[in-house]
């Protein structure tokens, strides 16, 4: 196994109890170096709790987490310089400029001199705050700019793992794109990224693998492609001059086809996307299609399939 594909983070049987409430229930996953992992789940699923334990800010009730073989524990301060956490809420000094915030946290991680200055410039460029005036304080930043600074502080010490806790909450599309670009750029340098969100679109567009959390448990963890197979696609179409023999023909070839109450309208639900097959069949049978729409599977549907509830309930 090459270094690029080695396991960087090994989470084993992590549970966290808050009194009698199980915030995390026996979580076990392995994350490879350089991956972008999405933690997808509704509010209260346990995403932030898991990040907090990985970062060493809190302890688990049971289980262990290893970062390249070294166990993460709150007392192990040295490991913290290998982890970057972007908290859900803004966490920077509003009366220090963006540059000063980066310098301050950089110094705490042991950076100084030219290394620190270069790193701060690099980060400011990555997060798109390099053109901000030096005397402008973050208290006057837009929400998007604040989010980006929040991200930048977690990057200043070049962590092996960057964890982002819902980093796009309340930002405009432009800032969201900037954040996405920054994450992708950081990932190209080999940084492993754990990204929590309850926006399925973000997980779909960014992540190599996605872990779906619900009520403290990981109910699925796989690539997007594989996860989508857990949900079904539905194709609805209407044909012209519907005749009885057409339906018989369709039914013969597509046994699970359902006839709608509207004449000539049909629907078919399948785990495998049936669209090419249907189009082929209709074209070959010279049956004219009036309309056709495909309700493709997505993570929302995957979540619905797995839990019986909607992601944003």
């Amino acid at each position: 196994m090459t270094l690029a594909h080695s396991v960087i983070l090994k989470i084993q049987n992590i549970s966290k109890l808050h009194g009698h409430f199980k915030a995390l229930n026996n979580i076990s996953i392995e994350i490879k170096r350089g991956e972008i992992i999405g933690l997808l789940g509704p509010n209260g699923a346990g995403k932030s709790t898991l990040l907090s334990i990985i970062s060493g800010a809190s302890t688990s009730t049971t289980g262990t987490i290893h970062l390249t073989g070294e166990q993460i524990q709150p007392g192990n301060l040295q490991l913290r310089s290998r982890i970057g956490l972007v908290p859900q809420d803004f966490a920077f000094y509003e009366d220090l400029t963006a540059r000063e915030n980066l310098i301050f946290f950089g110094q705490l991680y042991g950076l100084n001199g030219t290394t620190l200055a270069n790193k701060v410039n690099e980060i400011l460029e990555i997060i798109g705050l390099d053109e901000i005036k030096n005397d402008q304080y973050p208290r006057f930043f837009s929400g998007g700019m604040k989010r980006r600074l929040n991200l930048g502080i977690a990057l200043v010490h070049s962590p092996d793992i960057l964890m982002l806790d819902e980093p796009t909450v309340g930002v405009d599309p432009q800032s969201r794109n900037r954040i996405f670009e920054a994450i992708k750029k950081i990932n190209t340098t080999g940084t492993t990224i754990i990204y929590t969100t309850h926006y399925m679109e973000e997980a779909e567009s960014l992540c190599d693998r996605i872990a779906i959390l619900d009520r403290g448990k990981i109910i699925a963890f796989d690539t997007l492609e594989n996860l989508l197979t857990l949900a079904q696609s539905t194709i609805n179409f209407t044909i012209k001059n519907d005749r009885h023999e057409n339906f018989g023909l369709l039914r013969k070839n597509l046994p699970s086809l359902k006839e709608s109450t509207t004449p000539g309208s049909y629907s078919l639900t399948s785990c495998k996307n049936p669209t090419p097959e249907i189009i082929n069949f209709l074209v070959n049978g010279q049956i004219e299609i009036i309309n056709l729409n495909v309700d493709s599977p997505n993570l929302e549907k995957v979540f619905l399939t797995l839990t019986g509830r909607h992601l944003r309930d």
């Binding site: 302890t59 920077f92 000094y93 009366d95 000063e100 042991g110 502080i153």
Partner: protein, 503 residues
């Protein structure tokens, strides 16, 4: 090093908040000035300090022991335990002091006081100064200038004057009267008044049933005039000796109260006699006024501990804005974070204390230290004590800051050290205005210890000694309190960091 980075950041944030920084230094400054103007010169002085007997001595005569009777009377009042006497320099000043309400009454011993006392006697030719309630002041050429708006206090002062005069005039008159018992003239008078029965066996010599004592003495002297006088004197002396033997507990010839009553004279330390001194200060700011001698140390200590609220607020704000968790997420050790938070508070507190002392010295003319202090004494007072106080302030700030989870909790928690302890410690009401046992409570507050020591380095005009042991002891108590609180804060901090407690 990392702690210095945190400390630098904290200071930078504070300096950028210009309004807070200004208030931090300007508020105590303004409070001292405003309260100084509002409270007047009597503020901070003990009731005992204010209750003093003011005397104007114009007596030009001489009395017993070639000393004026006014001096004897003043000495008598001064010798009364716990009564302070001040001498007013002239009549105009006395009248002004009473007129402006600064003194309730001033006792005036006028020019003829001694002469009048000298002629007081039980003899018919002498002056009888007594009446049912005491002494006729006018008969002794004594007057009292009274403030009609302070009738109770002036009545007390007059009573003190009456009792003192009784103690002076009565023994003088008794002593004089007793001396008269030995005079031949008195025996001659007695000889005419007292008749003795003649026994029958002597009736041949003295053919009378009764014979006057004087005649008997003449008979005994054989009509020798000189010898008869001698006999009279002997009888007089005999009467005196007999009376002395009869009234052993009293010295009837004493002429002073202490001598008459055979009392032990009070020790010198009980005597408090001062010259009147204007304590109102000079100039618009009333520089040198005694009230600032109380206000400056009180407010210096009170505002030093008020930093708990400001520093705690910054701490809680850091928790609220998430930077506290971010700090905990860095590889910086807990002790370094604590030192980083601790140092700026110590520095600000130290600077604030020294600023207020300098302000007090330069603008308000308060007295700091004594001219004969050694360098060690100055270092103890102006460096070690402020430093120990600042350590205690910083420890309290971090302790409250780490305990409080939000601003409401902070306001509630910090009200204990900032308000309650300031009140108990004597920063708001001087101890002089509190009952004696209330001062014991101040031992449980850091303000009490700090104030005790700061007042020691800012003594009143009449104090000439400084208790350096008290300053050292207070500083050590403050340091100990600081260490205990810091240790507790470190414990809570570690629990938070190890995920056992929430910030």
């Amino acid at each position: 090093m990392q702690s210095l980075i945190i400390a630098k950041k904290e200071l930078k944030l504070l300096v950028r908040d210009k309004l807070t920084t200004t208030v931090l230094f300007a508020l105590p400054f303004s409070m001292i000035l405003i309260l100084g103007f509002l409270l007047g010169e009597g503020f901070g002085q003990k009731t005992d300090d204010l209750m003093r007997i003011s005397i104007l001595n114009l007596d030009e005569g001489k009395g017993l022991d070639n000393k004026s009777w006014a001096d004897h009377t003043i000495e008598d009042i001064v010798s009364t335990p716990n009564i302070k006497v001040e001498i007013i320099q002239n009549k105009q000043l006395a009248q002004n002091l009473v007129k402006t309400g600064k003194r309730a009454a001033v006792i005036v011993f006028n020019q003829n006081f001694s002469n009048k006392v000298n002629v007081c006697s039980f003899l018919s030719t002498g002056v009888n100064p007594f009446h049912r309630d005491g002494v006729y002041l006018e008969k002794l050429d004594v007057s009292i200038i009274k403030d009609t708006k302070q009738p109770a206090t002036s009545a007390i002062i007059e009573s003190v004057c009456q009792i003192a005069l009784l103690r002076i005039v009565m023994p003088w008159m008794i002593g004089q009267a007793f001396e008269k018992l030995g005079d031949p003239e008195f025996i001659e008078l007695l000889g005419k008044e007292v008749s003795l029965p003649v026994p029958p066996s002597l009736r041949l010599l003295i053919p009378k049933e009764k014979i006057p004592l004087g005649e008997l003495l003449e008979l005994a002297s054989g009509k020798d005039v000189a010898l008869a006088r001698n006999y009279r004197e002997k009888v007089g002396a005999g009467i005196q000796t007999a009376l002395i033997g009869q009234f052993k507990n009293y010295n009837l010839t004493g002429k002073s109260w202490a001598s008459l009553t055979r009392s032990i004279n009070p020790t010198e330390t009980d005597k408090t006699l001062t010259l009147y001194q204007n304590e109102d200060g000079a100039g618009i700011l009333k520089r040198g006024a005694i009230r600032y001698q109380i206000l400056v140390p009180s407010f210096t200590v009170m505002f030093a501990f008020s930093l708990i609220l400001i520093s705690g607020w910054i701490f809680v704000a850091e928790k609220r804005q998430g930077t506290f968790d971010r700090l905990l997420g860095t590889p910086v050790s807990t002790i370094n974070i604590l030192i980083g938070k601790f140092l700026p508070i110590v520095l600000i507190s130290l600077f604030q204390i020294l600023f207020l002392l300098a302000f007090g010295k330069i603008l308000l003319g308060i007295k700091i230290g004594q001219y004969d202090w050694s360098i060690t004494n100055w270092m103890t007072s102006l460096i070690f004590l402020p430093f120990a106080t600042s350590i205690c302030v910083a420890s309290f700030s971090l302790f409250i800051g780490i305990l409080a989870k939000n601003e409401t909790q902070l306001a509630l928690f910090s009200s204990i050290p900032v308000c309650l302890f300031a009140l108990l410690g004597g920063c708001i009401f001087p101890w002089e205005m509190m009952p004696d046992n209330a001062k014991n409570l101040s031992a449980f507050t850091p303000q009490g210890w700090a104030l005790d020591a700061f007042r020691e380095i800012m003594p009143s005009a009449f104090d000439t000694s400084t208790d350096f042991q008290l300053i050292l002891k207070s500083s050590l108590v403050l340091l100990t309190m600081g260490l205990i609180l810091t240790f507790m804060t470190w414990g809570i901090f570690e629990r938070i960091r190890l995920g056992h407690a929430k910030a």
